[in-house]
């Protein structure tokens, strides 16, 4: 029997039993759809996260006090020694630097009228907004003279506006930080949950925060933006050389600071997303396998039901191979039709979920191809035993079967 005839005969058998064929396919449909959805949403989330980070700038480096983390253990430093001067020198001397934002951070009490909240206060320079790609939606960022004059002005992250002002205009109002009144001169756009998101912070001039609020002149970190992604490594090297010299470290001595690159973060983020997608994809594949067991079950029933058909076919000259092929083609046709329907359902549901949740769904061609092939393989694997059973039937017994 040629393949075309085989597929035609198989299709006829399946059409003859529409409802059952559909129910049999359902397992594969759900399995394939699950794979497609998981991968689409996973890839979408990955892309969302990446583009969010990229919006913040892939050219970012962050210099932190203390040696780099080894084996996940943060080595405690007794001497914390990143100073404003370090930041100034980086900006002045390291080639490829686009902007430098020294940052000092601390938790403070912020109070507006009767509303009181514990919040992170960031003291920084005028470069901060540019370096961090922080969009001021209303008002303005503070300027150099306000930094030099230790002025009590501040800019609020979007979450703070929501928390203290319930989203009402805040410009010109005063917020009390650890009891001191600060004038609100700007509010920022939402950035979203991410690495050091400034949404839940109040940002004020570096000198004001250092000397008037926190009473310390050590920096928490220095955020540096390189001119381009290609400059990042050069800038990292330049900062290291400069700071080692400034901190008078002898050759062989460990750095007393560490430099993190945004790109590293980006990579690990991407990796985490990939792992998650793989994991969920594997779970979805298991459900596809369960669908395969359903096919095997129905194929066994079908073989038993059609025992006499097998007998007739053998009596009129069908070889074992023909019978085997017939049932195998049937289960593969079942599973691949199920696969195609599953792909369509998966695409539909991914779009629906994406629209409902505001996520992005990315239907990758490879996930479609792989799940289709996998569905076909499921049909072969789980159809083989029932088909073998049919092929091995004794024709007389098959013809006598009631």
């Amino acid at each position: 029997m040629n393949l075309y005839e085989g597929i035609r005969v198989a299709l006829m058998s399946l059409v003859h039993n529409k409802m059952r064929s559909f129910l049999t396919m359902l397992g594969v449909i759900i399995g394939v759809a699950a794979v497609i959805i998981v991968v689409a949403i996973g890839q979408g989330l990955k892309k969302d996260t990446m583009s969010r980070i990229e919006r913040m700038g892939t050219n970012l480096l962050m210099v932190n006090p203390g040696p780099s983390r080894r084996g996940g253990v943060v080595q405690e430093m007794t001497v914390i020694n990143l100073k404003e001067e370090d930041a100034v020198e980086i900006a002045k001397t390291v080639p490829g630097v686009a902007g430098v934002a020294p940052e000092v951070r601390g938790r403070v009490q912020a109070k507006y009228r009767s509303r009181n909240t514990s919040i992170q206060l960031v003291g920084t320079s005028v470069d901060y907004a540019k370096v961090r790609n922080w969009k001021i939606t209303e008002g303005r960022f503070f300027d150099d003279s306000e930094v030099r004059g230790r002025k009590r002005v501040c800019v609020l992250g979007s979450q703070v506006v929501t928390d203290l002002f319930y989203g009402k205009p805040a410009i010109g109002e005063f917020v009390r930080i650890n009891g001191m009144p600060f004038e609100i001169i700007g509010t920022a756009a939402e950035v979203g949950a991410m690495w050091g998101s400034p949404d839940s912070t109040i940002v004020a001039p570096l000198t004001t925060v250092m000397y008037r609020v926190l009473g310390q002149d050590n920096l928490s970190s220095i955020t540096v933006s390189a001119r381009s992604a290609e400059d990042v490594d050069k800038v990292e090297k330049g900062i290291e050389v400069l700071l080692r010299k400034r901190h008078r470290l002898r050759p062989g001595q460990d750095n007393d600071f560490n430099i993190m690159k945004q790109s590293m973060f980006l990579e690990s983020m991407a990796e985490a997303g990939e792992t998650m997608t793989r994991l969920l994809g594997a779970i979805a594949l298991v459900s596809l396998l369960v669908g395969g067991v359903g096919i095997m079950n129905i194929m066994l029933v079908s073989v038993t039901e059609r025992t006499r058909e097998v007998g007739v076919r053998k009596a009129v000259g069908a070889r074992k191979l023909d019978i085997l092929a017939q049932f195998l083609v049937e289960s593969v046709v079942l599973s691949t039709i199920g696969g195609v329907l599953g792909i369509l359902v998966g695409i539909g549901f991914s779009q629906l979920i994406a629209r409902q949740s505001g996520w992005t769904a990315i239907i990758s061609v490879s996930s479609i191809i792989y799940s289709f092939l996998f569905a076909g393989a499921v049909g072969i694997f789980f159809g083989l035993w029932p088909a073998k059973k049919a092929a091995d039937m004794d024709p007389i017994a098959a013809l006598r079967y009631e």
Partner: protein
Amino acid sequence: MTTPAGDLVLQRLTKAYPLPDGGALTILHELDLTVPAGETVAIVGPSGSGKSTLLNLIGTLDQPTSGTIHLGQTEVTSLRGQSLAEFRARALGFVFQDHHLLPQLTAIENVLVPTLASRPTADANARASALLDRVGLSERRDSFPSRLSGGERQRVAIARALINRPQLLLADEPTGNLDLDTGASVISLLLELAADQGATVMMVTHNPEQAARCQRTLRLREGRLVPQGAPA
């Protein structure tokens, strides 16, 4: 076009089933029989006498315990696998008591089933149409078996048995499920079509009138052939 004519020759053909106690239940006892090519033979005998067993052995659906079956030059009992399947498709046609049509296929598709196996021929479709025409069912070629009457189904089964121009047509109580008149017309068709092709016919029947329409009648009793002319 037909395969070269050949006589059907059975020699000391024996079929026995082993019994649990170690003995054997012998169904057919050393049958010797020669049927010249093109002869029509009726096989009669009481139920359980071994008629179906004999037909199944000749039809290669069953294996004898001992003895041989030849159809022309072919030693039928030694065929296995691919050559057995080819022999069934090429040289044999079956009509069973039950029509055994495939419910998911139309009449014409059922007639074509034997051509699906191994050797599809270009003129198979035309031939299937001609055969359906010949059994008076050209109007019903696209009907499913569930829409056909018993007699019509059996006529489709006859067309199916003859699609590959077999040398030997085996029919096991082909009218067993039909009323007398329908049965008579089905037998007429079967014998006519077989005669058209010069096929040898071995037909099991309980109906003396049908048996009388064959050239020879074989009587089986308890697994042995009753000699010709002996009392029934």
